[in-house]
């Protein structure tokens, strides 16, 4: 492994890559390649992560969010070392003659080289386009060096559900938001369809008329769903409070793994949302209706997050409430 990485060399390699791709595309009788870019996506991952799986997720995101993807693999403790490779990710849209290509840069860095990493990444970001940092390494998120990346980024995306100490991570995330960092959490993103379904129930005038009678919110969670359960409970409670309705919130652990359901009850109304076999089942006063709700993948969640490069006030409020819920003593 090398000990230095020169950004200018990487940029030259990227440039050569386009020349080669263009020649190749024309030699194959195609219409050349089309370069697409709407952002820089910096992915910070541990070296132990499944390279192929992560590569496929990044590749799947490219058609909708074409980006210069910079994948930083953290090799952990050891001597100061940095290494890089450059390649392109191409695809041929169905029924079309032209290949679409995005650039990918992979950098391997030891912890000792983290301090140098920012000076490598900064020149590699695409000018005038947002830099999104997807921090898959929660170890790095907790390190002081991460602050440098957060400062550069237009938005930072984490997944708090995978943290061993979820509460500490939520606190850290809340702290970053308070510092003005634009943050996304895939444990919140996972709830969009749930929240949307709940909102749809109350689009109906008759159901909306019962909002004021809602008195109890019960959220049950299992496995790694603690953070989503906190978010969901906090969001529902806050939404009702904003409408002048004070409902009691109960968050409890279920026996099943990876379980999540929520029930809202009040005089004349009972709404329950639960996932069953890839579908969302909404039960309103005993009558059930189901809609398609596939198991969310990193690709699906990131796809949504990359589409929102602005502060998300609902999430930021909910994050603050979730931190308080996790530490009721601080309230």
């Amino acid at each position: 492994m090398g000990t230095t990485v020169a950004p200018e060399k990487i940029l030259k390699e990227l440039s050569d890559l386009w020349v080669d791709s263009g020649k190749q595309g024309q030699a194959e009788g195609g219409a050349g390649v089309l370069r697409a870019c709407s952002m820089t996506l910096l992915v910070l991952a541990e070296a132990g992560e499944d390279t192929q799986d992560l590569g496929e997720t990044i590749a799947a995101l490219m058609p909708e969010h074409p980006a210069r993807a910079i994948l930083v693999r953290l090799s952990g403790a050891g001597d100061r070392s940095l290494a890089e490779r450059v390649y392109s990710q191409c695809w041929m849209p169905f029924g079309q003659r032209r290949q679409i290509c995005c650039e990918q840069v992979e950098i391997t860095a030891s912890d000792a080289a983290l301090a140098d990493l920012q000076s490598v990444v900064l020149p590699l970001t695409v000018a005038d386009l947002p830099l999104i940092v997807w921090c898959r390494s929660l170890r790095l998120f907790a390190m002081p060096e991460f602050r440098e990346f957060a400062q550069m980024a237009h938005k930072v995306v984490i997944d708090s559900a995978s943290a061993p100490d979820a509460v500490a991570l939520l606190e850290r995330a809340h702290h970053e938001v308070e510092r003005g960092i634009m943050l996304g959490d895939l444990s919140w993103t996972i709830l969009t369809r749930w929240r949307e379904m709940l909102a749809q129930v109350f689009e109906n005038h008759q159901n909306a008329a019962h909002v004021a009678r809602l008195a109890q919110i019960d959220v049950e969670w299992g496995g790694s769903r603690y953070v989503p359960a906190l978010y969901l409970g906090a969001w529902i409670r806050d939404s009702l409070a904003a409408a002048g309705v004070n409902a009691k919130l109960q968050i409890s652990r279920a026996a099943d793994d990876e379980h999540l359901d929520v029930q809202l009850t009040g005089e004349g109304i009972a709404v329950k949302l639960a996932r069953e076999d890839g579908r969302m089942v909404v039960t309103l006063n005993g009558a059930s209706q189901c809609t398609n709700l596939p198991q969310p993948t990193d690709y699906m969640l990131m796809r949504e997050e990359l589409g929102i490069v602005r502060h998300d006030p609902v999430f930021e409020r909910t994050l603050a409430s979730a931190v308080q819920l996790a530490h009721p003593i601080q309230q």
Binding site: G95, R195, A208, T291
Partner: protein, 506 residues
């Protein structure tokens, strides 16, 4: 006062969709099976419909609710091109499907419908909101609207809207008459005239391109634009619809509605807001600014066409007059090319060439804006031909926008060649685009009429088209005048050549 939904999150959620019943007249017809039900099922699949949603199918054939559900299940399975069939989603959706049999001219149908809607309202909590969709023969539109009005169904405790498919009349007078009869039961604000071209993502993207960017609008006028070409070409023939098509023709079927609406979108003035009345006002103003032609202008500035037999790729293709159900002496235009001028300060003197036809060389819909050439040709030493800049908005099949400009060829010397800078809608946004019917149905349900045609637009379009209809009727052309598989009649090329222009070959 409506109660605010405390759980809405506009940043993340799709648009709010109110509960309602959609009543489809002509539920046994092709449009319902091929487009409407698959679009509604897709909306249900995508969780875009509210829980209180129902569909009531109406046609003459006696049928139970269950039989109607079975029929629609087949249609959804057959015609949902890019949607997975999910049995549970279907079962939940199908529970809201109902059927009422009856004749559109029979008052009993509307009484039965009223009773059924009340029952559905109490079962499904549709909030009293009803969207009536006329997917019947155009001759039935007025009777259906009057029947709904007479039975008191056109008004209710929720909102009531009426969606009408084209054609909106067959000339100016009949369009006005239809409108008057619809207005006996529905206010103009409740009438949604659907033009599925306006529901296409790329046509909507024209508005985003023009009014969401600062760079293009200054170049969008007579000072810089030399001319505009709008092409709506189909490679197929009338595909068994010869009897219907011979009553319509390319001018009425495509130009009067779809392509004039596209032209209005391309040429309209910026709207003050992106609200329906404002956008529709601008579109309407543009249509009213198109100069109706005198007979002499029609002779020079329009070309009718009809395809004759040909061999395409070794396969013999019949001419229009040889198609089943078509009169062997038919004078129907299967091709129409027109030159229009907009009389306002922005576009005065800029020709808008519009052409459409069946059995043309390829299926393509695009708008091509040709800019004036550079005022001085300083690189002409190498004998290169001048190449004007082109901005091409591709509507189908490859949706996107291309800018063609000249660039220096690598190497010594100053030799230029044209290059194309492409934005490809499909590849830049890999997400599946909703079908035009999904977009427009949802718009009608949420009450957004931006992409629907208003009566004053219909009348303005007929005012442009009617003089052409009249001239062509009184001066029959020599048909057939273009072979199937070509780019249309030679006279259409000559029409452009008179102004020093040539049709683009997309």
């Amino acid at each position: 006062m409506p109660i605010e939904n405390p759980f809405q999150d506009p940043l993340r959620f799709e648009r709010r969709v109110p509960e309602c019943a959609v009543v489809i007249f002509g539920a046994n017809g092709d449009l319902t099976k091929r487009k409407l039900l698959p679009a509604l099922y897709r909306l249900a699949y995508d969780r875009r419909l509210s829980a209180g949603f129902a569909v009531v199918g109406i046609s003459r054939t006696p049928m139970s609710d269950e039989a109607f559900r079975e029929k629609m299940l087949e249609a959804v399975k057959q015609f949902s091109e890019d949607t997975n069939f999910d049995e549970n989603v279907w079962n939940a959706f199908a529970a809201g499907l109902y059927y009422v049999a009856g004749d559109i001219g029979d008052a009993a149908l509307y009484r039965n419908l009223a009773t059924r809607l009340e029952q559905i309202e109490s079962e499904r909590h549709t909030g009293g909101n009803v969207l009536f969709y006329l997917s019947t023969q155009p001759s039935q539109y007025a009777r259906a609207a009057q029947g709904l009005g007479a039975a008191g169904v056109s008004k209710g405790k929720g909102w009531r809207r009426l969606v009408v498919e084209k054609p909106f009349g067959h000339d100016l007078e009949s369009a006005r008459e239809l409108s008057d009869r619809l207005h006996e039961s529905f206010d103009e604000s409740e009438v949604y005239r659907i033009d599925h071209y306006l529901g296409k993502e790329t046509v909507q993207n024209i508005l985003a391109f023009r009014f969401g960017n600062g760079i293009f609008e200054p170049l969008w006028n007579r000072r810089y634009v030399n001319h505009v070409q709008i092409t709506g070409a189909e490679s197929i023939g009338v595909e068994g619809r010869g009897a219907y098509y011979q009553e319509a023709g390319a001018l009425d079927d495509m130009i009067q509605n779809h392509l004039l609406q596209v032209m209005a979108t391309i040429a309209m003035e910026p709207s003050a807001t992106f609200r329906a009345p404002s956008v529709r006002d601008e579109r309407s103003k543009l249509l009213r600014s198109i100069r109706p032609m005198t007979p002499e202008e029609v002779r020079v500035n329009t070309v009718p066409g009809q395809y004759g037999p040909a061999s395409i790729g070794g396969k013999d293709v019949p001419g229009f007059r040889q198609e089943p159900g078509v009169d062997p002496q038919s004078q129907t235009n299967t091709y129409a090319a027109v030159t229009l001028f907009v009389e306002n300060w922005r576009w005065a003197g800029v020709p808008f060439y519009i052409r459409t036809g069946k059995r043309l060389a390829k299926r393509v819909t695009e708008i091509s804006i040709q800019y004036n050439e550079a005022p001085l040709h300083i690189f002409d030493q190498d004998g290169a031909e001048s190449e004007p800049n082109l901005l091409i908005v591709r509507v189908q099949p490859e949706e996107g926008i291309s800018l063609k400009f000249r660039s220096k060829r690598p190497g010594s010397g100053m030799m230029l060649r044209p290059v194309s800078m492409d934005f490809n809608y499909g590849s830049s946004f890999g997400e599946r685009s909703p079908s035009a019917y999904e977009t427009l149905l949802l718009d009608a349900i949420v009450g957004d009429a931006t992409l629907y045609t208003r009566q004053d637009m219909v009348e303005a379009s007929w005012s442009v088209v009617e003089p052409i209809q009249n001239y062509w009727r009184e001066n029959p052309a020599e048909f057939p005048n273009y072979p199937a598989g070509s780019w249309g009649p030679a006279a259409a090329d000559a029409m452009l050549a008179r102004r020093g222009h040539v049709w683009r070959k997309p």
